[in-house]
């Protein structure tokens, strides 16, 4: 129980509630189901990219190419649909491309042993370039309406894509808790050498993490195309940085081994909610970045202070215990020290 109370997910979730309440007090329109659903709907893409990014960060890596993979998959989907490919096939094609893009990163990191930030920075340039080459630099418009239908399809009063994302979040959370091979992600990120000594297939685990990051960017790309209805060349631009910010905000530790899909979910919704909140507070939209950045910095600073305070408390408690032992039985404690 105490573990739940101390978790960062809860802290950010409470902050989110406070934010929503505060904004609602100033502008009551904010507290309508419609605007709350709107926030959720517009955070879906970020949630999915952040979960993908989380797999990589869990292994102590980083993937700055997920935004570019999103863009590339969106372009593939758009081009395929415009060429008359059937919708399921086009979606499958986009997903395959995203998985392949993730695998290229995986090969670089696991087999060539290129540092993750360098590998994915390199492929960031490559994928963005490919995207421009495929389209010749022009936007893909006039996408058939059958995919846009899914963005507005309500199931039980809630948008279809919200259900899809919810299922993915629950599924990944469950797998990361119960599935042994998924636990390997935590083991490798926490202590790679230790994991290797325990016969955990480190390379396979890393490979899976980068491939999954690609796949999730691909799923996000499908929602992107369906929601927006066209593919601008900026598709996914900077999304990797927002995803990392969302993860860190939600409590995923860049030092590896710590984090859950809930972290990604809460962090992504929080960042999106801030953007919407600013609109309701009538703050001009160009302040979004400044506020988002400041919140990220404030959150990591607060987290740092809390960690330090907890550590100091534990030290004091240990010192107190030792002092008491000293008092009761000086001879043994001297041996201990």
């Amino acid at each position: 129980m105490s573990r739940i109370w101390r978790s960062r997910e809860l802290l950010v979730f409470l902050l989110l509630i406070v934010l929503l309440l505060a904004v609602g007090l100033i502008n009551p329109n904010f507290w309508r189901t419609r605007s709350l659903m709107h926030i959720l709907n517009s955070s879906l893409i970020l949630i999915l990219v952040s979960i993908g990014e989380m797999f990589v960060i869990l292994t102590r890596g980083i993937d700055v190419s997920v935004g570019a993979i999103l863009g590339l998959s969106a372009v593939i989907l758009g081009v395929a649909l415009n060429a008359g490919v059937a919708l399921p096939l086009a979606v499958l094609l986009a997903l395959i491309v995203s998985v392949l893009a993730g695998m290229v990163n995986a090969v670089g990191v696991t087999f060539l042993r290129v540092p993750p930030i360098i590998m994915t920075l390199g492929t960031l340039g490559v994928y963005r370039g490919l995207m421009l080459i495929i389209t010749g630099g022009s936007w893909i418009e006039t996408i058939p309406t059958n995919i846009k239908f899914f963005a507005n399809w309500h199931v039980l009063g809630v948008r279809f894509f919200i259900w899809v994302t919810l299922v993915i979040v629950i599924l990944t959370t469950f797998l990361l808790r119960r599935f042994k091979k998924a636990r390997y992600l935590y083991a490798v990120g926490d202590n790679e050498e230790g994991a290797r000594l325990m016969d955990i297939p480190v390379k396979k685990t890393l490979f899976a993490a980068y491939t999954l990051a690609g796949l999730f960017a691909g799923i996000a790309a499908i929602i992107f195309v369906a929601q927006i209805g066209f593919v601008p060349m900026q598709a996914g631009n900077g999304q990797e940085l927002r995803a990392i910010a969302a993860d860190v905000l939600g409590g995923v530790n860049l030092a590896g081994g710590v984090g859950t899909p809930l972290s990604a979910l809460v962090g992504a919704i929080f960042l999106t909610a801030v953007d919407s909140a600013l609109v309701f507070l009538k703050v001009p939209g160009y302040w979004n970045n400044a506020v988002g950045g400041a919140i990220l910095l404030a959150a990591v600073y607060l987290d740092y202070r809390v960690r330090m305070a907890v550590a100091a408390q534990q030290r004091q408690a240990r010192a107190a215990v030792r002092k008491e032992n000293n008092h009761l039985n000086p001879s043994t404690s001297e041996e201990q020290t």
Binding site: I118, L121, L124, V126, I244, N289, L297
Partner: protein, 349 residues
């Protein structure tokens, strides 16, 4: 003497220099105008902002840190310069204010990195957004605070289209020069010499390597880790602000989003220059050579009729291949040395 020469030839920097010369010759063979020295020097103005940001970033990467907020500091410095100018301040005083803002932004990063254990990537990611947002919002903020600008529409009028019509003297910074050497190149060379001396000839420079190899050991040996880190991030802020000023002069317009696309290239230059992302390795000469290599490569590709869309593919691919190759060579060499040692020990037995 001979041994020393061999050792020198084996360095990464020497390899880069050879690559650079080869590159210029190949590009010259394809297009002879490339070999015209005046052209070659003049064309550096296209990428000096990359070098101005990459050179001090080398110092940070040597300490096992990273600073990705530089691209936002470029825009922040540019818009600061423009706004102070439209507020009626002399353009060259405005220039120094812009540089000051860059240093302050860098110090903010440095203080945050030095006083917490939070990953520098996260910190500068936060400040990347924050500085970019401040640069965007600054015109409106100045209006709200009651500052007066030339023209009726106030500062906010400059938010999207930027501030043009800057004085001729100022625009000369990027477009003038001494003889064949353009001022931006001169600024890069002076800045590189300054950083090179700091890094390779002073105690401060040795501290940077020590912090990069083992920050705890540095702390225990009484190295002033905090002030060293603050200084080195401040230098990065200064470099980015300089880049912003040069870009402003180059485009003859101050904008809040200048340099936004440069992040990939800047980090590629530092890593290609031989700096180790895990800290403890890197030189100013390496970064300088790598900067010229990437800069000329881009221009050569464009001159050969390759569209600018393909350039990031080549740069990104190059980054990965070079690092993979370097790792392969290191592992191969180590294996060879190990086998050699084994052989010797067996012979002795």
């Amino acid at each position: 003497m001979k041994a020393q020469a061999i050792k020198w030839i084996k360095t990464w920097e020497f390899g880069l220099a050879v690559l650079l010369v080869l590159e210029i010759l190949v590009l010259g063979a394809i297009n002879p105008t490339f070999l015209n020295l005046e052209n070659l020097l003049y064309s550096t103005s296209d990428f000096t902002h990359i070098l101005l940001a990459a050179l001090p970033l080398t110092l940070i990467i040597i300490t096992a840190g990273i600073d990705i907020s530089g691209v936002s500091i470029m825009g922040l410095a540019s818009i600061t310069l423009g706004l102070t100018w439209v507020a009626g301040v002399n353009i060259f005083i405005a220039l120094f204010i812009a540089l000051g803002v860059g240093i302050l932004a860098g110090m903010f990063n440095g203080a945050f990195v030095a006083s917490t254990d939070v990953n520098p990537l996260v910190i500068t990611l936060g400040s990347l957004f924050m500085f970019a947002g401040i640069a965007m919002g600054l015109p409106g903020l100045l209006d709200a605070l009651g500052f007066k600008a030339y023209g009726a529409a106030g500062f906010a009028a400059y938010m999207y289209e930027g501030i043009s019509g800057l004085p001729h003297n100022f625009n000369q910074i990027a477009h003038g020069g001494i003889g064949w050497v353009p001022y931006p190149l001169l600024i890069v060379l002076i800045f590189a010499a300054f950083l090179g001396i700091i890094l390779h000839k002073t105690r401060f420079g040795r501290y940077l390597y020590l912090i990069g190899v083992n920050a705890d050991a540095a702390r225990y040996s009484n190295v002033p880790v905090k002030s060293t880190l603050v200084t080195v991030y401040a230098l990065s802020g200064l470099g980015a602000a300089l880049a912003g000023v040069v870009l402003t002069s180059y485009f003859t317009s101050a904008r809040s989003d200048l340099g936004k696309e440069a992040l990939l290239t800047i980090i590629t230059v530092v890593v290609l220059g031989g700096a180790d992302i895990y800290g403890g390795k890197g030189t100013i000469v390496g970064t300088l050579l790598a900067g010229f290599f990437i800069g000329f490569l881009r221009q050569g590709l464009l001159a050969m009729g390759v569209t600018s869309d393909v350039v990031p593919v080549v740069v990104g691919g190059l980054l990965v291949v070079v690092v993979a190759l370097k790792l392969f060579i290191t592992t191969y060499n180590q294996r060879r040395l190990n086998q050699q040692a084994l052989r010797i020990s067996e012979e002795r037995r």
